[in-house]
Symmetry: C2
Subunit: 314 residues, 2 copies
């Protein structure tokens, strides 16, 4: 399955306790594609200014990412400046300059208009609707959003959600969207708005997949050194959707493995600034962390807890 | 294996968004025993005032809990008053009256002095040392503590830790103890102070067992309605240690199942005020949640991630 990804393509200035970087590759579409392209063909739609160092996206082209939908407009690229303090939990935004992104209206090139999978990155829900209106119904529509849109563009967002199969958001966003402090009640409400499948990202605490009345939990990968959390959520989405796109149907087994791969890619993403680690991660390294996740979560039940028939993981 | 549990025996006044209760059974030793006694014999050492409604502990006696070490002193029982707001994450202490607990010095009855397992509840580390000095070296010494002692009685606490096999604390406490914001580096440091096994409780985010270079993660049991979180940590410890005591040696497999049972008992504890739910929980209900944990955490790896030889859960 190939993926059409629409989102921001930005330059980031990031400061963490471990260093700083200026004008690094950033934006939801870039983080997503850096991760998803490991598993499946990705087409990117976005906009950059005439200042964007397009040559630095060559590693994506080499992985078969189609950047034909990346418009270059007169002006400055979207630029985000942020700082993380010692616990690395929260990004403090120092400056946001929208540049050419302020007037962005996604134009889906002719040859992208029948995507099998569509990823709507975290942008204005009205732009997400514009994308949905330009494509033939994909097999899987996935979507990300954030507090800003939940608060300010609720009705457009609910219109998007009605057309979404998989929503990927963090736990604060689920609670905010549903207006319920209990995550499990909130998840139920959100799934009633459209997305049959809901992925709740909990950062260092892992992630949960809600699917068809079942839940699947994966912990955060244990890292002793987190370097830069920027883009981890998009890398997670890229691992999740990339794995699904590369492995056929969204069966329960594939969905669980997709969540594991999302967690693995999210864990690599934070080990370097920008997409540095995603650009050089290998399939062997990924498989090693998948095995580690399995070793860290398996247990054999005592006989008096086991159900009468042998149970198999989906 | 039988367990000697030393800790507070209190009366709690608790207010949550769902109701309030006055003079409810509380204290670390009571919550612990309510949970551990489901799996193994428990001997309790503690102190109450002459006002304590001892008859209300009959459900523990019926489960074989030996209260022979529960001293009744002239004066008022330890009383804690607290309130939880809507997210139920943090207890706001309204009042703490130590009463007879202020002068408590644990006296271990003759017939408890060779316990196979010892649980040192969250009390002054100097009292924990007094207990250790009165008993013959148990097979397993387990211990809980809190921010107050980490800050104010650090050297006594480190002296305790040197004699502890299993430390059960929450994640903020691990970080504070080690002075390191990264949980995994902090866990490594803590294990170097004595406890070979470390259980990190993360509330709704689950728990982690660190043992001998390996980690085992269990998520929080998904509850749509949390009623009162008071004592959940002690119920968790009771489930963990009770399971271990009831099932023989601390093999990797038993330790993992112990963590699952700790999570299950913690999840029941919060479903009612005080020890209400623990007093009526059945083995069938426990087994059902153990099975649910297994269903919510299992996944079958794709072939390209699997190691060359079959892997078995410990």
């Amino acid at each position: 399955m190939s993926i059409l990804a629409v989102g921001s393509v930005a330059l980031d200035d990031v400061e963490t306790p471990f260093g700083r970087v200026t004008g690094a590759l950033g934006g939801s579409a870039v983080h997503f594609a850096s991760s998803a392209s490991i598993f499946a063909p990705v087409h990117v739609v976005g906009v950059v200014g005439s200042d964007y160092p397009l040559g630095r996206l060559d590693f994506l082209r080499e992985r078969g990412v189609d950047l034909g939908g990346l418009e270059v407009a007169e002006g400055e690229s979207f630029r985000w400046s942020g700082r993380y303090t010692h616990d690395l939990a929260t990004a403090h935004t120092l400056d946001t300059r929208l540049g050419v992104f302020a007037d962005f209206h996604p134009r889906i090139p002719e040859h992208f208009r029948s995507p099998e999978m569509l990823f709507l990155g975290n942008i204005d829900p009205r732009l997400q609707l514009e994308v949905l209106n330009q494509v033939e119904r994909p097999r899987i529509v996935a979507c990300d959003t954030m507090n800003y849109w939940i608060e300010g563009s609720r009705s457009a967002l609910l219109e998007v959600l009605a057309q979404v199969d998989v929503l990927l958001v963090n736990e604060a966003e689920v609670r905010q969207l549903a207006g319920d402090p209990n995550l499990f009640r909130a998840a139920k409400w959100v799934r009633e708005q459209g997305p049959k499948r809901l992925v709740v990202k909990k950062g260092e605490h892992g992630a949960i997949l809600f699917d068809d009345g079942t839940m699947f939990f994966i912990p955060g990968y244990p890292l002793e050194d987190v370097f830069d959390p920027t883009g981890a959520g998009d890398a997670f989405a890229g691992g999740f959707l990339g794995y699904l796109a590369g492995n056929g149907d969204p069966t329960p087994r594939n969905l669980r493995n997709a969540l594991v791969h999302g967690s693995v890619l999210g864990s690599f993403a934070v080990e370097d600034f920008s997409v540095g680690r995603l650009a050089r991660v290998t399939r062997d390294e990924i498989a090693e962390r998948v095995r580690a996740f399995r070793a860290m979560t398996r247990f054999e039940m005592p006989a008096d807890c086991a159900p009468p028939t042998a149970d198999r993981a989906p």
